[in-house]
């Protein structure tokens, strides 16, 4: 799962729907059987897409997620980019591209801060299926 997607997924338990804590899902508690594993995977660079998605990214949540994954070097405020083709923005866009699209979470678990449900990630696929008692 890309870090970009991790910035959009929330807890799928119905009772959590109205709670502000159901997003973002936290990576702070990992179980020994399923250690956290990240990998870098090359994806075609598209500055237009980064510019399109950037306004919708919750920067605070991204900082939390990145911090829990071990990257504490992100700037505190969301960078603003208006022209995707300007020379001076190129490096910034490439950094964002590497962070959001090329960083993949292969294995680990995510925790909802509201209900405490743990979602497992195996083979880069997070499992959002709920056990019977959590389905409304």
């Amino acid at each position: 799962m890309k870090l970009l997607t991790a910035n959009f997924v929330q807890c799928t338990v119905k009772a959590c729907g109205s709670s502000p804590d159901c997003f973002p899902l936290h990576f702070d508690q990992q179980i020994p059987d399923l250690p956290l594993e990240l990998v870098h995977e090359d994806v075609d660079f598209s500055p237009e897409f980064i510019c399109n998605i950037l306004p919708r990214i919750e920067w605070a949540a991204l900082l939390t997620t990145a911090g829990e994954l071990g990257n504490t070097q992100l700037p505190d405020a969301k960078p603003e980019i208006e022209n995707p083709h300007a020379q001076e923005n190129e490096q910034l866009l490439r950094d964002l591209h590497t962070l959001l699209l090329e960083t993949q979470i292969i294995q680990g678990s995510m925790r909802c801060a509201n209900c405490g449900h743990i979602y497992f990630i195996r083979d880069s696929i997070p499992n959002f299926l709920l056990p019977g008692h959590l389905v409304q």
């Binding site: 807890c11 997003f23 897409f49 959002f128 709920l130």
Partner: protein, 266 residues
Amino acid sequence: MSRPEISAPPEVFYSDVESKKYTSSSRIQHIQASMTLRALDVLALPPHQHILDIGCGSGLSGEILSQEGGHVWVGMDISPAMLAVALDRDVEGDLLLADMGNGVPFRAGTFDAVISISAIQWLCNADSSNADPKKRLARFFDSLYAAVRRGGKVACQFYPRDDRQTESILRAAKTAGFSGGLVVDDEESKKNKKYYLILTAGNVNSNDINLHGVKIDKSAMTRPKRNRKEESRKEYIIRKKELMRKRGKLVALDSQFTGRKRKPRF
């Protein structure tokens, strides 16, 4: 071919064997690709969008999303076997194992567009004793409406079993807040007939959707006006009694005296 929906739940039906068969069949690949292209054609999206593929399976339609316009997509499916095939095929999008009937697990305003090929008819089936298709449809469309940004568009191709399924899907979508309707391709052909549910969230200019070559059925857009004057008193009573019977009320039987006036006795 019999309908897969009636044989087993999706996560059981799309087993390892069936998933491989589905993905390697060139006939299915061709149909899937043409339906994806048609859905994209109707949506008329600008390039580089963030798209959700519901019931992505082995990523056959996702591949097309990556090729056409460089979209970044996230796919969700309930069948682990199908997702395993997708992993083997090394698709570009992110994959999620999730049940759409429990809602799409994304926060508000995540996607520019949503696409779904041959998936949402599964919602009309109750696969376990505690599953209520009506609730699952409502939960699906409610969470979907939230996950699409305002001005976003949704195209779902599906195979309804009968008119009642189409109607319940349409009603659930309308209740969630979507506007839009049904596009039917190849209407005359029983075999090639294809239903596309085209929805928009929030304010979308109708010109943003490419309805070129789609016949718009006027009668579906305006409710037929009932001419009250042509209906006699007896017909009115019989119509109302029929309605009450449909609602399960206890209604007196129809007879030759129904709707007649009593004789003046005094």
